[in-house]
Every structure is written in structure tokens, then in C-alpha cells.
């Protein structure tokens, strides 16, 4: 591989060398995360938003799709704390239900991408050979496109729908996970304990998944959080370009998109401002959690 890859592999390996303290990792990570004020605040915000979205019916009596033409564009009031939109739907309700879908897209895609990437990375990295060569080439091809360009092409090919979007994000997201998992495998498979396990006659795949992979759990979590944030933002961008989830589905991107209408932007800020704030807060909180995780799983930083 190129010098660049080796360089990156080394960077990744360094970021993730919590392996020496395996048995302590959990407590230590949690402890270190708690020390990081920003990531604690992030965690709290994240959990609040997530909880409210998941249990939306507990927090709002309205139906997110119920149109009410007698109550359009109402300002925030006791009945509608974030007011109503252009067809009289409760904005607060739409933020919560929209959050379900947006977070679902972000988290679901990140999870699928991770699953594909890590599985391939572990197998290919441990086994090497032709399989590794092929998967590596595919990942190179996918990574050769600027992400937005690839996503735009794929959305147009598959058509706009919720599941297509998750599929596309997963498809464009797995190569980076693959690379990370693979580099872990490459650097760990020559370790002595692995050799010892081999000598005991334990099956390759068992060694790879059960004994090596857990060492990479830290960076994998970091990557999931950061990818989730990225995909949520991508969904919003695609909505803006008119290529996101169909507009009748409430997602954060689709709710925000009405701000394109300058009248709404100026005179009905209750529609987009709270939504924008929630999205921004949520992304920030995820990023801080990711940062916290990264720092916490890095043994070179004192905990």
C-alpha cells in the first residue's frame, strides 16, 4: 500500500492503542469521559433529545401529520409551544417525530456501515490475500468520489425514499470503517497472544472476532457517533437540494427546508429556529461524545 495508507494506519493505531489495558478499559473509559465536562454535557443533551423523540407521544398530544387549516402559521402559544406550520401542524410534534426519522437515518446508516465495514475489515485484514485485495479496491473506488457527488448520483439512480437514503449512506460510509478495522487487524495479527491462540488451534475467525476485534471497540464507537452526526447533516443538505427523503415525511431536514421561503425565514422563525437549534445541539452533543470517547480511549492522555 501507499505511504499514505501506512501513515494513516499508524495514526489510527496510535489513536487506538488502548489495547494494553484491556481489562480496565470500561471503567477507565467511563471515568475519563466523566472528567471531560463537554462530553458529559453532550451526553445529557443527547439523551434528552433522544428520549423525547423516542417517546414523543408522552410529550405531545398532537399527531405529526394532522393538518388543521383553521390554525395555520400560529405563533408559539400554550397550546402549540413552537407554533404551527403552513398547514397547521404542530411544529414541536413534528420536531419530535421528525427526530425519530432523522436520528434513525443517521444512526441506522452508521450502524449498517459499521457492520459491513468492520466485518469485511476483520475478515480481509486477518486473512489477507485475494479477498483483501478485492475489497480494498472496491473501497478505494468508493472513496475516490467526493462523498456528496457520489450520494447525489446514487439518490438520482435509486429514487428518493427513506430506505434508499439509508442504503446509500451505508454504501458510501462503510469504506472508512473497513479501513480502520483492517489496519487494526494488520497491526494486531502478528502479536504474540494471537500467535499463542493460533498454537492452541483456535479457529481463525474466532480469534479475529473474539480476541482481536474487542481491542478496536473504542475507535469503532467514535466512528459510529461521528458518522451518525454526518449522516443527519447530509440528510438536511439533501432536503435542501430537493433530493432528500420525500417532502411529506417529517424529518429535521424537511422541516428546516421551509426556511428557503423568505417569508417564513423572516416572519415565522418559530418553524425553523427551534428545529435548527435542536439539530445543531444534537450534532454538537454527538460530536462531543465522540471526542470524549476518543480522548478516553487514548491511553497517552492521563485519566
Amino acid at each position: 500500500m501507499s505511504a499514505l495508507d501506512r501513515k494513516m494506519d499508524r495514526l489510527l493505531a496510535r489513536e487506538n492503542s488502548g489495547r494494553e489495558h484491556r481489562e480496565l478499559v470500561k471503567n477507565r473509559t467511563v471515568r475519563k469521559m466523566m472528567m471531560n465536562r463537554l462530553s458529559v454535557v453532550g451526553m445529557v443533551i443527547f439523551l434528552i433529545i433522544l428520549f423525547m423523540c423516542l417517546f414523543a407521544p408522552l410529550f405531545t398530544p398532537y399527531d405529526s401529520t394532522k393538518v388543521d387549516l383553521r390554525a395555520i402559521l400560529q405563533q408559539p402559544s400554550a397550546a402549540h409551544i413552537f407554533g404551527t406550520d403552513k398547514v397547521g401542524r404542530d411544529v414541536f410534534t413534528r420536531i419530535l417525530y421528525g427526530g425519530r426519522i432523522s436520528i434513525g437515518i443517521g444512526f441506522g446508516s452508521a450502524l449498517i456501515a459499521t457492520l459491513i465495514g468492520v466485518t469485511l475489515g476483520v475478515i480481509a485484514g486477518y486473512k489477507g490475500g485475494i479477498l483483501d485485495g478485492i475489497v480494498m479496491k472496491i473501497s478505494e473506488i468508493l472513496m475516490a468520489f467526493p462523498q456528496m457527488i457520489l450520494v447525489l448520483i446514487l439518490v438520482t439512480i435509486t429514487g428518493q425514499s427513506l430506505w434508499n437514503l439509508i442504503l446509500i449512506f451505508s454504501l458510501t460510509g462503510w469504506p472508512s470503517m473497513y479501513r480502520m478495522a483492517r489496519s487494526q487487524m494488520l497491526s494486531l495479527r502478528e502479536e504474540e497472544y494471537v500467535q499463542a491462540l493460533k498454537a492452541f488451534g483456535i479457529r481463525d475467525m474466532k480469534i479475529a472476532f473474539k480476541h482481536i476485534l474487542p481491542n478496536a471497540i473504542g475507535p469503532i464507537f467514535v466512528n459510529i457517533t461521528l458518522s451518525t452526526a454526518m449522516f443527519i447533516l447530509n440528510e438536511a443538505s439533501l432536503s435542501f437540494l430537493g433530493l432528500g427523503v420525500p417532502m411529506e415525511v417529517a424529518t429535521w431536514g424537511n422541516i428546516l427546508n421551509v426556511a428557503q421561503d423568505l417569508t417564513i425565514l423572516k416572519s415565522a422563525p418559530w418553524i425553523w429556529l427551534p428545529t435548527g437549534a435542536v439539530v445543531t445541539l444534537f450534532i454538537i452533543s454527538i460530536n462531543f461524545i465522540g471526542d470524549g470517547l476518543r480522548d478516553a480511549s487514548d491511553p497517552t492522555q492521563v485519566g
Partner: protein, 319 residues
């Protein structure tokens, strides 16, 4: 070094061939074709299938995929990048019109984000754990977290519509294309785009600065009584820059693909808007060309990063 670069460039050829065929295939898989976008949808209902078929035929859309691809590739070898299915303008002319606009915007944003990111990252590292560190982290994070188009629209509302100090969008002033007149148009989009890219650089700069601050030679320098700011600036910063440069190298491909949303918000006549329009109207030759260019840029920038890394870090050898 020379042989390394030649080898790398040679290896680009099969890669770009595969990629270009994939884009072509993708365009073919899209529902409908360019003819559906040449006629406004409301007018489509008044046209007969024969008329539409005739237009397809004359645009060469009825030939098999492989034939069309080979023709396109053949044209490429003769320096002919094809013609826009919409306007018949050579794609090379379109690129000539649109590419400078995008480069102008993205390079400005790259500069802003790099300078700002390194500066804030270093400050953050020096003040590690302090209030300033956290304020700066939050500031940088907002840039990443706020949807670009929302920030853009808010900026337009404030600076262009309320305060009336900057133009709402576009790239060039009518009857005034001097540097300063053009600069007005660049400020908002470049800042919005740059702001969103700052946090990444900042995070890298901060952590590599922290890294180098812990190094022995820094301690030695301090022990020698060199003032703290000098130690940080001269010794720390230099070492910290390496990974940052690598990161910026990785960002080069964003020069084409990264500005789509910002271009749309600010009516910036660049590659991004052209690409979105071409994808939506299935203007295959245009999509091919932009896809091709951006892929090439990714591959070239990865070589560039390799070379840079080798140049900056004596331990890395090109092979």
C-alpha cells in the same frame, strides 16, 4: 521519487476507466432520460410519444449503453469531452466557465478554515482544559453542526437584506468586475463554507500541538530558558503542522464536491450547481465530466498527500 510518481499515475488509468464506466452505467440506470427534462413537465402532456422518440433518436440516446460509452471514451482521447444534452455547448466550455468560480470559492474557504483552524487549535492546545479551550471547541463545533444552508440563509437575511452591506448572491457585479467588487460577492459564501470546515482542522491542530508539546525537545527548549511563546510557536507549531497539512491535502477533493449546498444558497455559478442540475436533468456528458474531474482530483490529491508526508516526515519513504 520520479519513478514513484510515474507508477502512481499509471495506476490511475485503470482506476479512472472503471470509475467512468460506473458513472456512465449509473446515469443509464436512472429512470427516464434527458429528453424528459428538455420539455417542461406541464408541456409534456401535449406531446406525442413519437415526437419524444424522435428527440431521443437525434440525441443518440437510443444506442446501447456500451456503444455510447465507447463513443464518449473515444471522444475523450481526442480531447472532446462531449456536449451538454441541454444546450449543445461543449462540456469543456462549461467547465471553463464554471470551474474557476468553484475554485475561487473553495480555495478561499480552504484558506479561511486552515488559518482559522490552526490558529484556534494551537491556542486551544496551549490553554488546554481551560475556559478558552472549551469555548473555542464549542465555537468550532457549531460550525460543523449547523446545517450549511440554514447558516447561509440566516447570513443572507442579516447581512444582505437587513444591513444591506453585502450582495445576496451571484459572483460578479454588472459593470464592475474589479477585485474589490468581486470580493463582496465572495465574502459570505467563503465564510460560511470555511466556518463549516474549521472544526476539523482545529481538532487536528490541537491534538498534534498537544502531542508535540509533550515531546522532549520542547522540554529541553523550555529548560534552555527560551520564552514560552517562542517555544510553542517555533518548535511546537512546526511539528504540529505536519498532520494538519496532510488533512488539508485530504480536503483538496472538496474543492469540487464540497461546495454544492453553499453554491446553491448563494447563487454561486459553480460546478456544484451545475452538477446538481445536470444530475437532475440527466445530462450525462456533464455529469461524466464533473464526476471524472472530481475522481481525478481525489486520486491526484492522494498522491500529493503521499509526497507531502514524505517530504515533511523523514521517516516515511515512498515505495
Amino acid at each position: 521519487m520520479a519513478s514513484y510518481i510515474t507508477r502512481k499515475i499509471l495506476s490511475l488509468i485503470p482506476m479512472t476507466l472503471i470509475l467512468s464506466f460506473m458513472i456512465y452505467l449509473g446515469m443509464d440506470l436512472m429512470p427516464g432520460d434527458a429528453v424528459d427534462y428538455l420539455i417542461p413537465p406541464d408541456a409534456l402532456s401535449t406531446m406525442s410519444q413519437e415526437q419524444l422518440e424522435q428527440m431521443r433518436e437525434s440525441l443518440g440516446l437510443n444506442e446501447p449503453l456500451v456503444v455510447r460509452y465507447v463513443k464518449w471514451l473515444g471522444g475523450l482521447f481526442h480531447g472532446n469531452f462531449g456536449y451538454s444534452l441541454q444546450s449543445g455547448v461543449p462540456v469543456s466550455t462549461l467547465m471553463k466557465d464554471y470551474l474557476p468560480a468553484t475554485l475561487e470559492l473553495t480555495i478561499a474557504a480552504l484558506l479561511i478554515s486552515s488559518i482559522l483552524g490552526i490558529l484556534l487549535g494551537v491556542i486551544s492546545a496551549i490553554r488546554r482544559g481551560g475556559a478558552l479551550d472549551q469555548i473555542l471547541s464549542v465555537f468550532g463545533m457549531i460550525g460543523v453542526a449547523i446545517p450549511q444552508f440554514l447558516l447561509g440563509l440566516i447570513c443572507i437575511d442579516i447581512f444582505a437584506l437587513h444591513m444591506n452591506v453585502l450582495p445576496v448572491g451571484g459572483r460578479m457585479a454588472y459593470q464592475g468586475q474589479g477585485f474589490f467588487q468581486r470580493l463582496q460577492y465572495l465574502i459570505m459564501p467563503a465564510l460560511v463554507l470555511g466556518f463549516s470546515m474549521t472544526a476539523g482542522v482545529m481538532r487536528y491542530a490541537r491534538s498534534s500541538m498537544l502531542d508535540s508539546m509533550g515531546k522532549d525537545y520542547m522540554k529541553t527548549a523550555r529548560a534552555k530558558g527560551i520564552p514560552e511563546w517562542r517555544v510553542n510557536l517555533v518548535h511546537g507549531l512546526r511539528a504540529a503542522l505536519t498532520p494538519v497539512v496532510v488533512l488539508i491535502g485530504f480536503r483538496l477533493p472538496m474543492l469540487i464536491g464540497g461546495a454544492v449546498v453553499v453554491e446553491e444558497v448563494f447563487q454561486w455559478p459553480g460546478i456544484g450547481t451545475l452538477f446538481v442540475k445536470a444530475v437532475r436533468s440527466q445530462n450525462t456528458p456533464v455529469v461524466m465530466m464533473i464526476g471524472f474531474f472530481s475522481v481525478l482530483l481525489v486520486l491526484i490529491s492522494s498522491i500529493l498527500v503521499d509526497i507531502l508526508t514524505a517530504a515533511l516526515d523523514p521517516r516515511v519513504k515512498l515505495s
